[in-house]
Subunit: 209 residues, 2 copies
């Protein structure tokens, strides 16, 4: 109901506009949310407002891996139980959460905070690759490098592949082992409904049984 | 990604949970929004938080018609250009905005702040019908009643119809004219895709040409 906006009072209109700017929230959803807040009690609205500001104030990027954290360095970087010899390189903090959820990885991370996307104005200088190279070159008390392997876990997209290629090139001189995530048919998929790119990956990456 | 929640820091988890409680926002949308806020600047997060609290602090129900307003009485009730002889009775403030958006109505409103829904624990006592009856009985300086007509604009649903029937009965003794919104095929619909209830209304409510 785009035309009904003018009937709203200023505070409602302002909140509708701000909610409408959030991703995935159209004007209809914004209205539902605002009416929900108007119908609810003041305390829960204050709680939501407080949580929004708290997230901005308490969450920052880890100074080592750039993941989101409330403690710096983050809990993963300071965890002695994790294998600090393997660094998994991802585009976004979101990706760290996803990989953590699998429970299949016990190394540490490095978040690039972006991807190579020249058309969107994101060049190599916007990524945290310098810090990654420094981490890979770091040595322990005996002068030995700590990092044995870097896993490139960028997205299986054009941008992600270009980003992975860039990181690989930047790491070439360090001599560290570089791998990338396996690509192929997604678990649970049906070949009938797969597309050409997926099948191409599955065929070229086929594994001996 | 339901299992990834534990990987989030406390502030993020708290905000995810609060956003997830809003209508129409699943855990996936909540994550998109929280990451959007984390990636954005602090000012816009503070602005959103402030707007949420402002809406609760500045918006209240009009003491005459119960519509949402920042001024009491509301701009509609105090507008001398509007016809105070016609009251349109709606369930929710949302409905006022919708009717205002049509530009087809110049009377005033009365918001019931609910509907008859005994199964949901909403009985007649939860509605603002007493205030409506008082408004209908009000007289001007000459002892004449002001209100000539009450339009029942409850939803065309079981609950809405029951609510309209209740209001009609409560107003019967006042002698005021009572009408209800026309019911039939929605503009732009195709008969092929209409359901039985809509066609029933359209047939029984048919109009001479």
């Amino acid at each position: 109901m785009p035309d009904s906006k003018n009937a709203y009072s200023a505070a409602v209109r302002n909140l509708l506009e701000l909610f409408g700017q959030l991703p995935g929230i159209g004007s209809r959803s914004a209205e539902r949310i605002v009416f929900h807040l108007l119908n609810g009690n003041r305390d829960s609205a204050v709680q939501l407002a407080g949580a929004i500001v708290a997230v901005k104030d308490q969450v920052r990027h880890c100074s080592i891996c750039q993941h989101l954290t409330e403690n710096d360095p983050c809990d993963i970087c300071t965890n002695p139980q994790r294998d600090h010899g393997i660094i998994c390189v991802v585009e976004q903090p979101k990706d760290v959460y996803q990989i953590e959820a699998t429970g299949a990885y016990n190394g540490v991370y490095h978040v690039l905070l972006g991807r190579l996307a020249p058309l969107d104005g994101m060049g190599p200088e916007t990524l945290t690759t310098d810090a990654l190279v420094r981490r890979v070159l770091e040595t322990d008390a005996n002068g030995q490098t700590v990092v044995r392997e870097v896993i490139l876990a960028t997205n299986p997209t054009m941008d992600g592949d270009a980003t992975a290629l860039l990181v690989q090139q930047l790491l070439a001189a360090t001599g560290v082992g570089v791998s990338r995530l396996a690509r192929g048919l997604p678990a649970g998929a049906q070949i009938e409904h797969s597309n050409r790119a997926i099948l191409h990956d599955a065929l070229t990456g086929r594994v001996k049984m």
